[in-house]
């Protein structure tokens, strides 16, 4: 019975091929450093889930942002857990992505034919840092407020267009409700979409090229 259903599905979906190319693709002799990309992916998914859960209660308005975060922490069952995972996962993700990049650099895996994988990786790093930057403002507490003031001010020091960048980031000359709202939109819609797209391309290239081997003495 089940066999028949599976055979029917398999005939149309061809999932076995997918599984072979995705999960059973050959790897060079195991090395923990090569797991960091997958760890980054896992953290991205984890941040996605906990983030979606946070939006059930979080409100991106200066009147309510702080109170809604307090409510998540003390008013909702396991709110502290969901927020805690998202909070520490964010820090961990930046670290893991960065070490992943260092290992790719150390093993010279960015060379032909993997230059594009590396370039997309740079995009991934920037987008990941962007997630951290936009997410930091959302609790709308003193630390968040002043960190964003400083962060956007630094972006404003770019010659010629600095003023424009600052106003674009803040949605005006000062930090306001507009800043919070656009950071929220960036944090939950734009950057995750960018990340998901880049991760897709990154993974496609990795499956296409296979994992690079660990450099030997002669390399």
């Amino acid at each position: 019975m089940w066999k028949k259903i599976f055979a029917w599905l398999e005939e149309r979906l061809g999932l076995n091929d997918l599984q072979k190319s995705l999960l059973e693709r050959p790897e060079p002799k195991g090395n923990w450093w090569n797991t960091l990309g997958s760890a980054s992916l896992f953290l991205f998914i984890l941040q996605g889930f906990t983030g979606i859960f946070l939006t059930v209660y979080y409100t991106p308005s200066p009147d309510h942002a702080y109170d809604s975060v307090q409510y998540i922490m003390s008013g909702v069952a396991f709110g502290w857990l969901v927020r805690g995972i998202h909070h520490w996962g964010a820090t961990l993700m930046v670290i893991v992505v960065f070490i992943h990049m260092l290992r790719v650099f150390a093993t010279a895996s960015f060379k032909y034919p993997r230059e594009l994988t590396w370039i997309i990786g740079v995009g991934l790093l920037v987008a990941t840092l962007g997630m951290g930057f936009t997410g930091y403002l959302l609790p709308w507490n003193q630390r968040a407020y002043w960190a964003t003031t400083v962060g956007t001010q630094i972006a404003g020091t770019v010659p010629l267009i600095g003023e424009f960048i600052l106003k674009t980031l803040r949605g005006g000359p000062d930090l306001s409700a507009l800043t919070l709202q656009r950071f929220f939109a960036g944090h939950i819609w734009m950057l995750p979409l960018v990340l998901a797209g880049l991760i897709g391309a990154h993974l496609y290239l990795i499956i296409r090229h296979g994992e690079s081997h660990w450099p030997k003495k002669e390399d």
Binding site: S68, Y71, A77, F78, G79, L81, V82
Partner: protein, 163 residues
């Protein structure tokens, strides 16, 4: 017993640990989502609605209203409630206190003196002076505040229970 290969052992271990993680993440997630629905605290209070001495006429509905503040998450919401006090006789305990919340879909009914009915503006329902349905979709008579008392200062108070 057949020998367990290393690969099968790893597989079983992955499923087992994966299941464990799934449950320990899944259950809190569900609790997190349904938490507001589990807030079962009912609030009760005696609410002063006016001096009985000001409600002298018999069989005339005297309107009253009050607001209750609820804390929902990070926000306080004020909801207004209202009703009518009707003296049925000289006896200060012979009162009928009607809730003006329509029993159909919760609009507020008004007293129409000419026709001596409570009329609901939303779907044209009408109730008689006792709150019984005369016309329209409401499934039952207007609700009553059955418990009331008169304080020493002569203030009429009703017992209000939320939820």
């Amino acid at each position: 017993m057949a020998e367990l290969s290393r690969r099968d052992f790893m597989k079983a271990a992955v499923y087992f640990i994966g299941g464990l993680v799934g449950v320990s993440v899944g259950l809190p997630s569900i609790a997190y989502l349904i938490d507001p629905a589990l807030d079962g605290a009912t609030k009760e209070a005696w609410i002063p609605i006016g001096k009985l001495a000001d409600m002298t006429e018999i069989n005339r509905p005297y309107p009253f209203s009050f607001t209750r503040v609820q804390v929902n998450g990070w926000e306080r919401t004020a909801t207004s409630h209202g009703g009518f006090v009707i003296r049925k006789s000289e006896d200060p305990n012979d009162l009928l206190i009607i809730n003006s919340r329509c029993t159909h879909l919760a609009c507020t009914v008004n007293w129409v003196e000419d026709e001596r009915v409570f009329a609901c503006p939303c779907h044209d329902a009408s109730f008689d002076a006792q709150g019984a349905v005369l016309d329209g979709p409401p499934p039952r008579p207007l609700d009553r505040y059955a418990e009331f008392r008169v304080s020493e200062a002569g203030v009429l108070e009703i017992f209000y229970k939320e939820g």
